[in-house]
């Protein structure tokens, strides 16, 4: 594809030779002549002078000695360029002979059901959705249109996925929530988890992530929300729209996470809380109480981010502070003694 055509498809301003042939995409340090790259993070700007790329997508303020596509949001434009130049291969429609599909299941047009997948009683699978090998859908599961479920994904009974949902390998949707009542002998009796999970449109679920079914009612992941790998979402949790949960985040039961929330890696949130819209929690934060919308929090127990940064700086100097305090105590003591002696 000519760079000129790519510029048009991305809606970017073209600077330089639009006739360059672009066949691929690559990072700024590895890109070669037939590839387009991008500059989003200023710390890579020095590479502009040396990159061998055929063209670069960058923000208005930058200059470069090669053909450029100018965009207010170079990372978004490059994301689209990748989708244009490296379109994902969609498996051919059809049901593999080794798949086990219950006769009562309803398969939409042009679905792909891979080798050794299991589709249970009464399942509904929407048009153009793909089940990679060894996906298991328990009875009564509903999957919308244009979904992609990678190999090893398990979806438990009666859970519902919207349209364009992507689930990475090995994720478990609808496992039993962790609910037990202690009896007078101190033994735990299982609370049967009779609710479901509802995943709305355009959600992505990472590899080996677990979203538990509700005890009663439903666990819900809102439209456009993205979950990374190895995330734990407890029973009856609800998450709003366009939120992002990074790797190894854990949310305990019945907590409500708002929309446009960002939880960085390994954050933990206790149960029965409300995390407002737009909240940001930095990596490893532990949240024991509800958080107001728009807050940025850090630490365990979580406090306002800037306060935490300041306290953390002092933490590193605690031994010195302790020493200074001791010194001061000595001085004051000796002062008091002297004055008393007068």
């Amino acid at each position: 594809m000519k760079l000129r055509e790519l510029a048009e498809r991305l809606g970017c301003e073209l600077r330089g030779d639009g006739g360059v042939e672009i066949e691929g995409v690559a990072g700024i340090e590895r890109a070669g002549p037939g590839e387009v790259t991008f500059l989003a993070n200023p710390r890579y700007a020095a590479h502009l002078a040396t990159t061998r790329a055929g063209a670069v997508i960058l923000a208005p303020g930058h200059e470069a000695p090669l053909p450029c596509l100018v965009s207010e949001n170079p990372y978004l434009a490059f994301t689209r360029a990748v989708a244009v130049l490296r379109p994902p291969a969609r498996p051919a429609p059809g049901v593999h002979a080794s798949a086990q599909v219950d006769p009562s299941a309803v398969l939409g047009a042009d679905v792909h059901v891979g080798a050794l997948a299991v589709v249970g009683r009464g399942v509904r699978l929407g048009a153009r959705s793909t089940l990679h090998p060894q996906v298991v859908l328990y009875e009564g599961v509903e999957v919308g249109e244009d979904c992609v479920l990678h190999s090893g994904v398990q979806v438990r009974e009666r859970c519902r996925l919207g349209n364009r949902v992507v689930v990475q390998n090995g994720a478990v949707i609808g496992g039993d929530g962790f609910g037990f009542a202690r009896d007078p002998e101190g033994r735990y009796q299982k609370f049967p988890q009779v609710g479901i999970v509802v995943i709305e449109d355009d959600v992505e679920i990472g590899a080996l992530t677990a979203v538990d079914r509700a005890a009663l009612g439903e666990t819900r992941i809102g439209r456009g929300t993205k979950l990374d790998n190895l995330v734990q979402v407890g029973h009856s949790v609800t998450i709003g729209e366009d939120s992002v949960l990074a790797g190894q985040v854990g949310i305990a039961g019945s907590t409500r996470i708002g929309s446009r929330v960002t939880l960085a890696g390994q954050v933990g949130v206790a149960g029965h809380l409300t995390i407002g819209d737009g909240v940001v929690a930095t990596a490893q934060t532990g949240i024991p109480g509800s958080v107001e919308r728009g807050s940025v929090v850090s630490g365990y127990p979580a406090i306002e981010n800037r306060a935490w940064l300041k306290s953390s700086a002092v933490f590193a100097k605690l031994p010195e502070l302790q020493k200074r305090l001791r010194e001061l105590e000595r001085k004051v003591e000796s002062l008091l003694e002297k004055l008393a002696a007068r």
Copy 2:
């Protein structure tokens, strides 16, 4: 079922109209006329006035404008109500035609072996146990009676599960422990993990949880203990009875966890320690040393919970403390100078 009959089956005192027809269960905010709900957490007490439920299970001290079942432990009684009103469907006995069962395996009466499950050489599967689709039992595995193993569960060679064990989807029991010896060249040589895992009766293992086989001997999870999702149990760990490990907890090798221990979400415990009976560790606690029975610990490194709460409160004020210390140093310095000048 009439409410009167439910009261009898749960052993609860009935207050109000026992003739109400109860068909289901629901939370207090969603329950409708044919459903029973419960009140365990006082913070939901205000909903008693407005719930549309047909009946409510509550503790002796509460009043409600609807038929009540009175119980000293409303959550336990409700747990039993769910089991009565929404009994889990047990798959029909039989071995699916696509399952791969080694001829030497011994299957008890009325077992269910789902589609594409793999049952290895010499496996013993107890009466009425269920293997959902794509469970894999390596050779020599023993599973007791009335167990439920959900799809995608892997049980490695020679591991043993007791009776009434429940394993959620994708859990791995008996993977190799993490054992390597460093050779003089700084390379790691694998220590063959020749031990096993033993899971006692009435244990539940969460989705995507890993319980490693012992290097030598056995890793053991005691009767009635419950593990949530994404938990890591290292090789040769032993856990006592009726303990609870919440999501994403990690236990390093050879540690001994007692009975009735509670480890909240994301807690980490180092290796070769002893955690006494009844210990409680709050969320994200990191435990670097053994903990005496009955302790409640928090923080990293873990200290007694109340001390940690107090220290954490001061932590948030560290910048202010530092400032006050500096101010005091100045005052004392100037005082000393003045006195010296006299």
Copy 3:
């Protein structure tokens, strides 16, 4: 095997009766007459007097009332003893009738492909490698010689594994990295993850560990590196040789981890950082910035280990420090008042 022969094979000095028959291995507390045990950790030295083992491997300085094999590195020698006395059973070569192997796949000599495994188009599987049941290799995957992939492992399109790689159950290699660009409406657009994962020789990957494919280029795990269970390796991360990542460690995207690095359990490392060769991070450390080679770091945010230990000790005394500070303020205030009154 006679102890004398074992001594020769391990290259250890024999003390005592070399004619003892050794048939197995066990820990020092459980070993019986026909078993060899070892002493590496001095805290178990007291057991030397009481062990019923047939022989013990120990370091030069120790004495024991039973036949001994003397080694400078008893743990390494014992590791080799286990490999000699309990050699892992290799499944017989062959492809199980229920496995789904694409006709274009190239299988080396003496491979084992287990029940219900899926081998995609164009896959190359090296000689003597084992795929346990239900392993899935997407199209274009390359696996070297003498590898062992346990049941439930998923390897995504075009990823490459070297020789002698071991992957424990349920691990996911090559799932999509977590990359999304936010559009002007605040919605996340998926960045197609078109890179791959490369796993070098002699790497071991733990159960339920996720190694994401690169957005562009490759994610790489260096020769001899060992990853424990439930580890998250983000896209485009590179890890050097002979490094060790313990359970539940998480590495965010594009970070470079050096060689001979040790990250203890639940450590988190932010994205786009460089962690130098030989760095050690203790359990639960959170690393927000690059770390110089050879450093030992702890805490969150990570600081030098000894400083962290000291600060943590003071942390536990913060309420007392605050009280002392307040007391001192009072004394100085009253002193100032008195002096002013004179």
